[in-house]
Amino acid sequence: MILRVQQTAETVVAEAQAGAFEPILLGLIVLLPLIGFAINGVAAILAARTAERRRWSSSSHHGGSEGEADEYSNETHSVMDAEPTGVVPWTHRLPSLVAPGVMLLAFALAVANLFGMMGVELEEPIVRTYWSWIPVGELQVEAALQLDQLSLLMTLVVTGVGALIHLFSVGYMSHDPGYPRYMAYLNLFVFFMLVLVLGASFPVMFVGWEGVGLCSYLLIGFWFSEKANADAGKKAFIVNRIGDFGFLIAMLLIFVDLGALGYVEVFERAPQLDYAGPVVTAICLFLFLGAVGKSAQIPLYVWLPDAMAGPTPVSALIHAATMVTAGVYLVVRASTLFAMAPAASLLVALVGAVTALFAATIGLKQWDIKKVLAYSTISQLGFMFAAVGMGAYVAGVFHLMTHAFFKACLFLGSGAVIHALHEAMHATHSHADAQDMRNMGGLRRYLPITFATMAIATLAIAGVAPFAGFFSKDEIVGAAWIGSAGELPLSQASLFGVGGGTWMGMIAILLSIAAFLTAFYMGRLMLYTFFGPNRTGEAERQHLHEVGWTMSVPLIVLAVMSTIGGFFNVDSLVPIVNLFSPFAFGGDAALHNWLHPVIIGAEEVWASNTAAIPEVHHASWPILLAILVGVAGLVLAAVVLKPQLLGTPEETPAYEGNLEKVLYNKWYVDELYQRIVVRPVWGLSRAFYSVVDRGTIDGIIDGVLGRGAMLLGLSAGRVQTGQVNTYAFIIIVGVIVVLGSIVVM
């Protein structure tokens, strides 16, 4: 194949304007994880071969499939089992070095680029073109990377948090028989995530978009022998197809209407479209459909809780810190387009706010520690969408960043808890559920570091000052209050005939309630896990101990970041918040200033299409309210919940009363989807296939399709009878239809 390196005119222009700054080994940042994947992949294949050989030789001794079930069981077993022999093979030692190593190198390169970029006022993104990817007609797509303030920030988060989680995985997963494979997938994931955030055009982003999805399914189904895990992987795959359908259509629409797909050209030409016109609204809605699928918002959030079937560090990296935020990144990246489509933007904000509250209610009544965190993630993503939907793009990215710190910390902490419980249960051959909070309690005595770091992260997510979540969450809720006062550009827009200001007032209320519930369920999680008497069991308790350094170091680093992460964006104009101005990193409202070149396109759109906004008036009562709900939620949890009265799963029912039952069952949405989507599709395909001869009439009725599909099935299902006469008859019917239509036309 011929690789042609082409320098487009835009590239040259961009470089000229970039002045002194040259990106440092931009391609290598992306390439490093891929190299890691290649090395770990080879190790994985060799390890699989060895394991296969061992399985063959052992099965000849006690001929059995039972070895299989033991070897790859669910999380509760496989973390500890494995490698019966004492010697750790090189295929398990090498990934411990390579996987975190490449991540650290990539992070170092990203930091180097950060220092380089801080020195210059970069107004235009830097585009590096590697080869001409799809070069036909007007559709010219280059394989190109784009470095600007937003993509660099995302790269820092992905490689930084990613490196920590890789390190954590060394401790968490190294005993697993599939460890090299796991590390290979994880590296591959980071590669695609970097392609996603650094790509210079929608198609390149789409490559990353699909790639991270693929890795996500691979990792969800990592313990593949569990059918539930494999199903969860499939569910994630299929729900994401719906989202990708939206992304693809949006891309085609962008191409048809703007004649380009590279960011630079698209956002240059976007203002040519009609402001608030149907075209740009359709583009944004389809893009948002893609974002909804990837970022688990209503109505496509159902895959994310199931995705917790994967290993816990995967949940931390993919399903909390990075991949699921890709939808938010997409909206910010396309902010110029979204600014052109105010109604679509309001819808984004509304969906985000409703999701934030909805998921928070479910989080109240889950017993599985990871499920609580999963719904919490959905809820926090809702906050981010509410922010970017209201046009508060920086606030959304800010929360994305702080959320990456504290949610990764929480997930890794829960991983440490599960790991410890699990090891203890393994030692005593107990089969209790290591993820059920009713089996925990009082763990702060046994896992002090984990407790301390998770406590900090909890304060951060609850929005207690001065932890990171306080600044980012309050910026979002504050923006909603400001918008309700008519002081945001989108306040002038309307959706479903209701003004933007009114919508934003409702969003502010929804988000405030969600923030209160967040503090409450996080308080509940901490209380039930770390306080009260221990419920793990007498024998097991002897085996509880703190995790090793590879796992505690990432926890500590993330806890530190959860503490100080908010100081990256302290706005001295906002009352109360400005008390922290002396501690601010990088000056006043550093993140705002940093990201300004990225969202300037959106601001220009507003400036030319909406009436001028009077000076924004920051009141202090929204901030006080925000502090109040956070603290109140935690205090209420501490007062109402009695961890000392809680019993083990056998003693404590999952729910009491109808409301609790509905919450515990997640509002029955999965069941609803099963009924209205899954079964009809399945039924339709069976109907198409065979009805009469296979005696599957029952199956069709099961398919809840009714008579229409029955008739369809009776006619279509007859098709493949194996009888030549029937076939000939079908052909004749086809001939008559074709001839009739041609002659009539």
Binding site: V136, F237, Y689
Partner: protein, 501 residues
């Protein structure tokens, strides 16, 4: 060199690849006879390799065609780069079919030299089909290809399924040939010629002639049968299922490629003047094919049969490209055909590989744990399946993207959206195989598990998989060639290729 077909000898040059391959096929027959001592003995490996060498020589002759120009585009045989591109695809398909049949025929006890000779003759038919600019040549090429294939489908005489597949394919195939021939007769009667270049200028006057339109409709039926468009697909699952798998691979790839090339030549180029007449019904057939085949494929328990329905569904996607009837559509068509050939032949190759003793294991459950037992073939199969589904990172995605783009260009929005939706459905069944391969543990009893694919076959599969990936990351080169190849179609005087810009 320029050919003007004033002298009949020019046809010898124009048909050089086909002539070379025909002679080579006879040589293969002879070598086989003289190589083995008696008639029950299996053929020597040299026969297979000799056949492959024949394909290579033919490919060289085919490449040489690029240096030749036609004085006018009125000859029976087209000498243009479209034909050369299609020929290469057909030759790749034949080569892959031979490579995956090497170990397979021996195990099944049907290693006879005729197999390779017939395969080469069928290939000659396919190549002529892609070159035919005269309806009679089209009929003869179609029959040359089909008669050889009827035998190949029933080649495993001891297997009742193989014989039954052959019978059905034969009866329905010649049935559809009857329609095709009658269509040619009617076109001949109304246009007074069977040469497309002679018919094209008459199209405005023929537009009102029911005799001509019925003839064109019957032609459409005959070609739709060969490319397996619903509802003319009825023979496909049975014939594909019954045939020896290398033959299935050839039918799903080479035959489809050649018949689609003829489709483009006759309808998109030749009958472009009556686009409005044939496009509506063909759009409906494309919709029916995409949705019907994908829905039925969902219910299949046999991977081989599932792949048969998958190939029907792909006929629907390719029809969308034909219906775009613009230059992008034809280029997208060629590109997709190449990817499709690689991934489909590859997928059938893996179907061969998963076996117990001499028998293929076709059930979905038989693939449990396959990915771990055969890491290379498992990974390769996953690539093919994802590519068939149109997953990004594979050539199948770029191919679909191109078809979509050409379809939007032509204003066929509903077809584009349907294509995307239909391929969303297809993810279910492709993915199911991958899931079973990797996420379901293999059953305990593993005795007799064999891999029927020999080293060269595995190598070919791997190369195809790498090519499928490469066609995603650096498709520019092939797209360029495809674009230049279809440019030659415009030189047909008096036609306008498509109605769009």
């Amino acid at each position: 060199m320029t050919l003007d077909f004033a002298s009949q000898a020019d046809y010898l040059l124009a048909l050089l690849p086909e002539i070379v391959l025909s002679l080579w096929a006879m040589l293969v027959l002879m070598v086989d006879v003289f190589q083995k001592g008696n008639r029950v003995e299996a053929s020597r490996p040299v026969v297979a390799w000799l056949s492959l060498a024949g394909l290579v020589v033919t490919a060289a002759a085919n490449g040489w065609l690029l240096t030749i120009e036609e004085a006018a585009v009125t000859g029976m045989v087209a000498v243009d780069s479209f034909r050369v591109f299609v020929n290469f695809i057909v030759l790749i398909a034949a080569a892959l079919a031979i490579l995956i049949s090497i170990g397979y025929l021996d195990r099944r006890g049907i290693n006879r030299g005729e197999f390779y000779a017939l395969l080469l003759f069928a290939t000659v038919g396919m190549m002529l089909l892609g070159a035919a600019r005269d309806l009679i040549l089209l009929f003869l090429a179609l029959e040359l290809m089909s008669v050889a294939l009827y035998v190949l489908v029933g080649f495993d005489r001891r297997d009742p399924r193989s014989s039954e597949g052959a019978l059905k394919y034969f009866l329905l195939g010649s049935f559809s040939s009857g329609f095709l021939l009658y269509g040619i007769a009617l076109v001949f009667g109304s246009a007074r010629s069977t040469n497309l270049s002679a018919i094209v200028p008459l199209l405005p006057s023929l537009q009102e002639s029911p005799m001509f339109l019925i003839g064109a409709g019957l032609l459409l039926v005959g070609l739709a049968f060969k490319v397996a468009v619903m509802p003319f697909h009825v023979w496909t699952p049975d014939a594909y299922d019954g045939a020896p798998t290398p033959v299935t691979a050839l039918m799903a790839t080479g035959v489809k490629a050649a018949a689609f090339a003829a489709f483009i030549r006759v309808f998109a180029v030749g009958f472009a003047g009556i686009y409005n007449e044939w496009s509506v019904v063909l759009s409906w057939l494309a919709l029916l094919t995409m949705f019907g085949a994908n829905l039925i494929a969902l219910t299949q328990g046999s991977v081989k049969r599932m792949l048969a329905y998958s190939s029907i569904a792909h006929a629907g996607y390719l029809l969308v490209a034909v219906l775009a009837a613009n230059a992008y559509g034809a280029a997208a068509f060629l590109f997709y055909l190449l990817v499709y050939t690689l991934m489909t032949a590859g997928a059938f190759g893996i179907v061969i590989a998963n076996s117990r003793g001499a028998n293929e294991l076709n059930k979905l459950d038989d693939y449990a744990g396959f990915g771990w037992r055969e890491p290379l073939l498992g990974a390769v199969f996953s690539i093919f399946l994802l590519s068939l589904a149109g997953f990004p990172l594979t050539g199948g995605f770029i191919g679909k993207l191109y078809i979509l783009r050409s379809s939007l260009e032509a204003g066929n929005v509903e077809l584009a959206v349907s294509l995307v939706l239909a391929s969303v459905i297809s993810y279910f069944y492709y993915l199911r195989v991958v899931v079973v391969m990797y996420m379901r543990p293999a059953p305990a009893e593993e005795a007799n598990r064999t891999v029927l694919l020999t080293g060269p076959g595995q190598l070919a599969m791997s190369v195809s998989a790498v090519a499928v990936l490469a066609l995603f990351f650096v498709p520019g080169w092939v797209l360029d060639v495809a674009q230049r190849s279809v440019a030659s179609l415009f030189t047909v005087p008096g036609t306008f290729f498509g109605l769009g810009p």
